[in-house]
């Protein structure tokens, strides 16, 4: 290779430094591009996986408005509402429908057969067909807020209703209101029942009178014509597509129903009362759901529309076929990206800090050149342009690699834009770093500016933490969220170094009084270095903080998955089937690997006297000792005390209001005195979330009630039996039996798309942060190298021995690294608190309770060991080169 005449060949160190800058720029640019591509593409995968599992054929946009009085309705109410519909919704009303069904939940692809007409009704607001018996018995649906006075009911209905509730009109008492269920009837059924639209109907049937609640009163709000002898809900399109406003004068409900099956229909409505409520997904734009790419693309195009002011909403609900799933995807994605963001921003800031520190080193090596160039008349602008050009050249390899990644991985232009913006930042940092003052000593003005910048940094960090804390949500689209971690890391470094300087100053003064040399010189050296390595220290803190937060979040996800396993299984294995008996329990207990079993007896509904009256609750009975043993390793405790008096101790669910602990429980034919000994949120593996239950000692219950409890619904198992064998035993007893294994539940949680995506990012951040932290520590130590070597050589020349020189070197660098590590721990702790406040990990792992963001004990120990290791590493690097004066001649 030839060189231009007159140009000095760069030294090996200069070339190495330039290569390092190229590597750092490339890492940052490619890392940013890759992160963008990964987050976007995995978000697509997440949505695709979620929607791919759904079997929706259609969906519905439905909004229920309440508190709309008649006076607020214009004369042509229905038409006005229809006219005021958002264009996207109206578009689904006007053209010929492609599909339609009212469905807040999944629509079964295969509809149940209709055994008879009119046993089924299509109930507005419920999916599919509902059994008339269920409706009439008041079990379905929840009638909601629509009520009418019994006095307004037709005479036959009124009489039947009053008879049922035991009210005689001759008593002169005011008649009560009754809740109504709005139904859309199949035309033939309506005709057979002799009802018309607007009629209020109280039906009687075979099951009438057996329900707990008073019978529902139906209001017919529409009819539809069946397409064939077995009409399906899809046939009620013509009725359901029109917004329907109840014409009854005292109606307090306006229901606008739009059926969405048209590709242009999207869920983008906002409501005046809740402008923050926003649905960003409309997966229903494809009836076949095969084109998920299109769905995901549309999901990103969030636009806001105004619902007509005609209908005011206090408690609106939006029901779509996939809306809940979409909301789940959005929520999970937000949580996942919030977690990723904390680590990524901190890591990126650490990377930029390392780049800046390396660029400053390069600038220092080129100081003479810069001084000569300036002396020959080069202006700041020319120099900036020249250095920016050089910096651009340094980033070109990174840009090229990033472009290659985008092309090969099928990324989008947006991903490359992220990389280019990062490259621009790299160029700016490298160029500006080389414009720094060529003088070693900073002027007073520069010192004041430096102090002011550091003060502003600290204020901004405090403010950002306060804002995030007050809001309690790590919104990934909020700039404050984006800058919080970098600001906290940088500000903490500044504060820590200032405090270190104070501490070193005091220690140095104390050491000066003694005879020992190493403390005086070493502490003085540390004090001098602490003023030169702010950026490198920040890089260490930011990188270690990113690693720590990533590890803590990963630990929390694993802890959450483990908790979910305990919540759902309650032991290592649970066998569930109705009617399991003692022989089954004994067979399971005899399996190899089984350490303990806890059979659980259940009664679906027993009466418990509460402050609100007698309530039907689920009875759960078990052996307290066995239950304790099977759940001993888990996070939940079900401590049922032993019976000491006449009353049996019970545990109750939190929703039951029992002020007086002494109460009564009716089981079978016995009225048993019981005493509430405590409340537990759940019986893990046995009760469902939100279920009302009473837990009791099975033996005591059996004795008090005089009945043998030999049939169980659940058998909790501790140990590691052969699951296949457990299944065989359970299925022998009941074909409906199922076996759940806690480790499989945990594994399923951890392998879900959103958790996999999140842990992959966290792992990458942790690994990247460890690399950056290690490099930053080496940089921090290396930056003090010249000063350290100069001191060491002088000491040895003066007659000191190598050990003294090494002690000085270690004392000069160890406090810096130690403080950087301690600051990282503090910052990591703070960011963990912020994450705990702003993120809800339960949404990612189906945990019933909120999950705390906490590192595991092992991680804390490892972090402490890592810090000690880094300090030792720094010490070793610092004393690596002996300060042997006999090298003088050879080096000359």
């Amino acid at each position: 290779m030839t060189r231009s005449p007159g140009l000095a060949r760069p030294s090996l160190a200069d070339r190495g430094l330039a290569s390092l800058l190229v590597l750092l720029c490339a890492s940052l640019v490619v890392g940013a591009t890759g992160a963008s591509l990964w987050l976007r593409s995995t978000a697509d995968d997440l949505a695709r996986a979620t929607f791919g599992d759904a079997t929706y054929a259609a969906t519905q946009v439905k909004v229920t408005y309440v508190e709309v009085g008649d006076r607020e309705l214009p004369a042509g109410g229905p038409e006005a509402v229809a006219a005021a519909l958002p264009p996207a919704v109206r578009a689904t009303v006007d053209p010929e429908p492609r599909a339609s069904v009212a469905s807040p939940e999944m629509v079964p692809t295969v509809l149940p057969a209709r055994p008879a007409v009119p046993s089924f009704l299509t109930v507005a607001g419920l999916p599919g067909l509902e059994s008339l018996v269920e409706v009439v018995d008041g079990r379905l649906p929840d009638p909601g807020v629509t009520t009418v006075s019994v006095a307004d009911l037709p005479a036959p209905a009124q009489e039947a209703y009053l008879a049922k509730i035991g009210v005689d009109r001759g008593d002169g008492l005011p008649l009560p209101d009754v809740e109504v269920v709005e139904v859309v009837l199949e035309e033939t059924a309506a005709s057979e029942m002799n009802v018309e639209i607007g009629d209020l109907v109280a039906l009687s049937g075979l099951s009438f009178g057996r329900g707990v609640r008073p019978p529902a009163v139906l209001r017919v709000v529409g009819t539809y014509e069946a397409a064939d002898a077995f009409p399906t809900p899809l046939d009620d399109a013509d009725t359901a597509r029109e917004p329907a406003i109840d014409p009854t004068p005292d109606a307090r409900t306006v229901r606008a129903t739009a059926v969405a099956a048209d590709p242009t229909t999207v869920l983008r409505a906002t409501w005046e009362a809740r402008p923050d409520l926003r649905y960003t997904f409309d997966p229903a734009t494809s009836t076949s759901l095969t084109d998920t790419d299109q769905l995901v693309a549309q999901a990103r195009e969030v636009e806001l529309q105004s619902w007509p002011p005609l209908a005011r909403s206090l408690d609106e609900t939006a029901v779509t076929g996939l809306g809940d799933l979409a909301e789940q995807v959005v929520s999970q994605r937000a949580t996942s990206e919030g977690m990723s963001l904390l680590g990524l921003t901190s890591l990126a800031a650490g990377g930029f800090a390392v780049l800046l520190a390396a660029a400053v080193v390069l600038a220092g090596r080129r100081r003479t050149t810069t001084r000569v160039v300036r002396a020959r008349g080069a202006g700041v602008r020319w120099l900036l342009g020249q250095r920016a050009g050089e910096a651009l050249l340094l980033t070109l390899p990174g840009i090229a690699v990033a472009a290659g990644v985008v092309v090969l991985a099928g990324g989008e232009a947006g991903d490359l834009v992220v990389g280019l913006v990062t490259a621009g930042l790299c160029v700016a940092l490298v160029a500006l770093a080389q414009l720094g003052s060529s003088d070693r000593e900073q002027s007073v003005v520069q010192l004041v500016i430096r102090d002011a910048v550091q003060l502003v940094l600290v204020v901004l960090a405090v403010a950002s933490v306060w804002l995030v804390w007050r809001r309690g949500d790590l919104d990934v689209s909020d700039p404050v969220t984006l800058v919080t971690a970098p600001l906290v890391g940088a500000a903490a470094s500044v504060v820590a170094l200032r405090l270190l300087q104070l501490l070193l100053g005091v220690l140095r003064r104390i050491a000066t009084r003694g005879r020992s040399l190493a403390p005086v010189v070493g502490l003085s050296q540390g004090l001098a270095l602490s003023q030169q390595v702010v950026v490198a220290t920040s890089a260490v803190v930011l990188a270690l903080t990113a690693a720590g937060v990533s590890v803590a979040l990963g630990d929390s996800l694993r802890a959450a998955a483990e908790r979910t396993g305990w919540e759902q299984v309650g032991a290592d294995v649970v066998a569930q089937a109705p009617g399991l008996e003692d022989d089954t329990a004994e067979a399971l207990a005899g399996l190899a690997g089984v350490e303990a079993t806890a059979p659980v007896f259940s009664a679906p509904s027993v009466s418990l006297s509460t402050d609100l009256g007698v309530e039907g609750v689920r009875l759960v009975a078990f052996d307290p000792d066995a239950m304790r043993e099977v759940g001993a390793d888990g996070p939940f405790r079900v401590d049922l005390p032993a019976r000491t008096g006449e009353a049996m101790p019970i545990l109750v669910s939190p929703d039951l209001e029992v002020a007086d602990p002494a109460t009564e429980l009716r089981y079978a034919t016995s009225l048993l005195p019981v005493e509430v000994a405590g409340r537990v949120d759940r019986i893990p593996g046995v009760t469902a979330p939100g279920e009302s239950f009473v837990a009791i000692d099975a033996a005591a219950l059996s004795e008090a009630a005089g009945r043998n409890l030999t049939s169980y619904d659940d058998i909790l198992i501790k140990g590691s039996p052969d699951v296949t064998e457990v299944e065989r035993i359970v299925r022998d007893r009941s074909a409906l039996g199922q076996v759940r294994v806690r480790s499989e539940v945990e594994e399923a949680q951890l392998s879900s798309p959103v958790v996999t995506r999140t842990t992959a990012v966290l792992l990458a951040v942790a690994v990247g942060s460890a690399l950056v932290a290690g490099f930053a520590v080496v940089l921090l130590v290396t930056l003090g190298g010249p000063l350290r070597r100069r001191t060491g050589t002088l000491l040895v020349t003066l007659g000191g021995d190598l050990r003294q020189a090494r002690r000085v070197s270690v004392l000069g660098v160890a406090p810096l690294v130690a403080v950087a590590c301690l600051t990282s721990l503090a910052c990591g702790g703070l960011m963990v608190l912020v994450a705990d406040r702003g993120l809800d990990l339960a949404g990612l792992t189906a945990t019933q309770d909120a999950v705390r963001v906490l590192p595991s004990g092992l991680s804390v120990v490892l972090a402490a060991a890592l810090c000690v290791g880094l300090v030792v590493l720094a010490g070793l690097v610092a004393v690596r080169r002996p300060h042997e004066p006999l090298e003088r001649t050879e080096r000359r």
């Binding site: 070693r440 000593e441 000066t512 009084r513 003694g514 005879r515 020992s516 040399l517 005086v520 010189v521 003085s524 050296q525 004090l527 001098a528 000063l787 100069r790 001191t791 050589t793 002088l794 000491l795 020349t797 003066l798 007659g799 000191g800 021995d801 003294q804 004066p885 006999l886 003088r888 001649t889 050879e890 000359r892």
Partner: protein
């Protein structure tokens, strides 16, 4: 009593130093002889690469000779172990290098720099304080005792370096280009300081420099050429007043070898062989007969 009858402070006899640089053997000193008496102020001059800095590194215990003999204040530099060498650097000799960065710790104050060798020597706090104050005062930099080196002028830095070098009361002070980075006025300050040290403390001072004006500042100047002492210039006071006369001598080694001054050789066109003739009180040298 002639000078050769006393025990010299520095005695080099046939000193050789060979080292490798990038695989090439370099003979920096090739049988150098030098004798410096206690309390002398000597300058060693020579062109770049003549071996003067190598000599100073050997004398100051920072480098080891390949062969020959070197004794400083009774310390045989070839026989010294690591511990003795350390003690030698700590208590027997002091150094002043050209760059202040090599002499001073930049983040310590002037007083702390002077106290640094004393800490190494194990002196108590009061002893350190007293000695530091004395030295700074003698060298005229007491007013900057609390300043860091980068706040001092070049001359002050080198005077501070002298103070550091004298902190433990060495018998010999070695100075390698002590005025190399200084202007004339500052150089004068430093030479004055060295003369003061020499006269006040009786410390033997050896200055290595390529500055030809140093001859006017010292009583004896030794010139080194190609790794050997080639000539010496003695400056003595002639008659009354401050009139000084400098006389240049060729150096005769123990084996009787003599290095003729280059300009003499050139003037007479001496080559290969010369003809010697011993007369009553001197030796005559003639060019080889062209026969």
């Amino acid at each position: 009593m002639s000078p050769t009858d006393t025990q010299p402070q520095i005695h080099c006899d046939g000193l050789v130093r060979i080292y490798k640089r990038k695989g090439v053997e370099v003979v920096a000193l090739q049988g150098l002889d030098l004798r410096v008496e206690p309390g002398e102020l000597v300058a060693i001059v020579g062109a770049s690469g003549s071996g003067k800095s190598t000599l100073l590194n050997i004398l100051s215990g920072l480098d080891a000779p390949s062969a020959g003999r070197a004794v400083v204040a009774g310390h045989d530099l070839l026989a010294m172990g690591r511990a003795e060498r350390r003690q030698y650097r700590l208590r027997t000799c002091g150094f002043v290098w050209q760059r202040s960065g090599d002499n001073l710790v930049p983040y310590l104050s002037a007083a702390e720099n002077v106290a640094l060798p004393q800490r190494l020597g194990g002196r108590s706090r009061s002893e350190r304080s007293q000695r530091t104050g004395e030295l700074l005062d003698q060298l005229g930099i007491a007013d900057v005792a609390d300043e860091r080196p980068d706040a001092l002028t070049g001359g002050q830095q080198q005077r501070l370096a002298v103070a550091v070098a004298l902190a433990n009361g060495p018998q010999v002070l070695f100075c390698d280009e002590p005025t190399g980075d200084l202007d004339t006025a500052e150089s004068q300050e430093v030479y004055a300081a060295l003369q003061q040290v020499n006269e006040t403390h009786g410390t033997t001072v050896v200055i290595v420099t390529h500055d030809p004006t140093v001859t006017a500042e010292v009583r004896r100047t030794v010139a080194i050429r190609d790794g050997r002492t080639s000539s010496e210039t003695l400056r003595r006071r002639a008659g009354e007043g401050e009139h000084h006369v400098a006389e240049e001598y060729a150096v005769l080694d123990r084996a009787g070898r003599l290095q003729l001054p280059h300009d003499f050789v050139a003037a007479l066109g001496l080559q290969h062989r010369v003809r010697l003739e011993l007369v009553d009180d001197h030796i005559q040298i003639w060019p080889e007969d062209p026969r």
